[in-house]
């Protein structure tokens, strides 16, 4: 298990804003994804764990081994930490063949063991046939596989991956995901993977850490984070939510209901404990949880009629932009049939209205 308390400050300089990383978290077995926007401190976090950067205060513990502790001045070199590191590029040594890359990583092992280990890893990652080729003579996917195999030669206690899918096309990306699953299954090494790709994060993560402006804004399973973002910043980052500034107008614990006023519009939600009448809150509602239909005749009771001001389409869904800034996600086919409608009827299922 990895346990970190990291603090690193960069003072404001002439052409760069100051930045402070202040992150505390744990990484258990399985895949932990460190998710955050560019500039939130993700790669710096990995560098501090791997020993490529020195922390100002805090400490790094890996399987009860103290890797760094600012208090006592312990700072193991990257070589002593046993943290495998995968970069955005495969970073294979270009002057060596794939086999030589692995052999070099196995330098510390006895000769016989070295050959056995390298042969076994080349086999596991389907590289035996091309082991004599230089990295420039193999495909991107093969380079990626070799890079992972090389990191595993040194038997790391954890594998740190810094946006490893950057620059890969969809096929290679999925090949990478399969390899990572294989690494979990065969080698049982915990993975700490940095990404700013939400889809990738949800696909790979057993645990997810959301890093915003140098701080862990939320930690949990992807499902937990998606169900209840901890703050407007997290919800914004996930890009799937409407954030509506509202005022609590009614709280009825007996009937488990409440009334919220947003833009002169009344919304009905569940009872919110620890809230008071008149509280100004941010209502968070997922774009795909709002029921939306074209308005035909008289609007249904409890529904809200809004004007469609624009739309954008992805490969599978359409995003409908309504007046007031509300965005609703709809399957593409459903929208295609009704795209000519201006007035739409919206319903907010009570349970979908979360308060942040």
């Amino acid at each position: 298990m990895l346990e970190v308390r990291l603090q690193k400050r960069f003072s404001k300089a002439a052409e760069s804003a100051g930045f402070e990383l202040n992150a505390n978290f744990q990484v258990q077995a399985g895949t932990t994804v460190l998710f955050g926007p560019s500039g939130s401190g993700k790669s710096l976090t990995l560098d501090l764990i791997a020993g490529f950067a020195k922390l100002d205060s805090g400490r790094v513990l890996l399987d009860d081994r103290l890797l760094a502790d600012a208090g006592t001045g312990v700072f193991l070199t990257p070589q002593e930490r046993r943290c495998g590191y995968l970069f955005q590029r495969a970073a294979l040594f270009p002057h060596l063949t794939l086999r030589e890359n692995l052999m070099l990583a196995a330098t510390a092992l006895p000769k016989l063991e070295r050959h056995r280990k390298v042969a076994s890893l080349l086999d596991s990652f389907r590289l035996t046939e091309i082991a004599g080729r230089k990295p420039s003579d193999v495909s991107g996917g093969q380079r990626q596989r070799c890079s992972i195999a090389r990191a595993l030669v040194a038997e790391p206690s954890i594998l740190l991956l810094d946006e490893p899918s950057t620059g890969l096309d969809t096929t290679l990306r999925h090949e990478l995901y399969e390899i990572l699953a294989q690494v979990q299954e065969e080698f049982a090494v915990p993975l700490l993977l940095v990404t700013h790709d939400l889809e990738e994060a949800f696909l790979l993560a057993d645990q997810m850490l959301v890093l915003v402006e140098g701080k862990i804004a939320q930690a949990g399973t992807p499902r937990e984070i998606l169900t209840q973002p901890a703050s407007p910043a997290v919800a914004n980052l996930l890009g799937m939510f409407n954030l509506l500034p509202a005022e609590i107008k009614l709280l009825d614990p007996g009937a488990n209901r409440s009334k919220l006023k947003w833009n002169e519009i009344e919304l009905e939600g569940p009872y919110y404990p620890a809230r008071l009448l008149g509280d100004r809150v941010t209502v968070c509602v997922r774009r795909d949880e709002i029921a939306v239909t074209p308005k035909m005749g008289k609007a249904e009771k409890g529904s809200l009629v809004l004007t469609l001001v624009g739309s954008s389409e992805t490969s599978r869904t359409a995003l409908l932009h309504f007046d007031g800034g509300l965005i609703v996600e709809l399957p593409l086919e459903e929208f295609a049939e009704n795209r000519h409608h201006r007035e739409w009827s919206l319903q907010f299922p009570t349970s979908t209205l979360r308060i942040l």
Partner: protein
């Protein structure tokens, strides 16, 4: 025509280049890879011979390796012959003339290696010295070779330091640069012209070789 000065110069340049290369690799590695107190002072000290007049360098060397110095005296006790005014002194002169420039070149070559390879090697647990020998040096081998070729040319052409500590003893310490000077002084224009042409030819070949080694593969083919 006496080819001794030319042969001596080539021998001196070969030995001096090899020793300079060893010194420059060590210094280049220390300056690029290590963090230590006085690093900038060491860098300045290595650069100093590039900016000092050769006679000043020669004077310093005479103090350090002359017969009265402890280095010179120790050498004489051990080998039975003095260090100054011998071909060995010519090698020392060539090293002092070429090693600083070679260190500068090699430091730049080492630092031009993509840091991602060094980070990758460190994360694999490889010791620093192994990283230098097995990763960094092979990755900048062409630049190292090109720099060594230039250092060879520089060693071949030293005059000022050589004449100060190795002297001008025909058949013993007279290198080609000193021989040209000697030929001009004594009015032997033919010999001077021949030696000048040979040295210029070698210089041209060396620069061509160095440029070829340093140019990207696509431009070479």
């Amino acid at each position: 025509m006496d080819f001794f000065p030319l042969i001596l110069s080539l021998e001196v340049a070969v030995v001096a280049t090899m020793i300079s290369l060893a010194i420059a690799l060590l210094a280049g590695w220390a300056l690029s890879f290590l963090e230590f107190r006085g690093k900038e002072v060491l860098d300045a000290a290595i650069t100093l011979p590039l900016v000092l007049p050769p006679t000043v360098l020669g004077y310093y060397l005479l103090i350090v390796i002359g017969r009265e110095s402890w280095v010179g005296a120790a050498w004489e006790t051990l080998t039975g012959s003095p260090l100054v005014f011998t071909p060995k002194a010519a090698v020392i002169a060539a090293i002092v003339h070429s090693a600083p420039l070679l260190t500068k070149y090699l430091r730049a070559a080492i630092e031009s290696v993509d840091p991602i390879y060094i980070k990758a090697a460190r994360s694999l647990g490889l010791p620093e010295w192994t990283i230098f020998l097995k990763v960094v040096l092979p990755l900048c081998r062409r630049a190292v070779a090109a720099s060594a070729v230039l250092a060879f040319a520089r060693s071949l052409g030293d005059f000022g330091v050589t004449i100060m500590i190795a002297g001008n003893i025909p058949g013993k310490t007279q290198t080609v640069s000193v021989a040209i000077y000697d030929a001009v002084e004594s009015g032997n224009g033919g010999l001077a012209r021949t030696l000048v042409l040979i040295v210029s030819g070698i210089g041209l070949l060396v620069v061509w070789l160095s440029n070829r080694l340093n140019s990207p593969r696509a431009l070479r083919s």
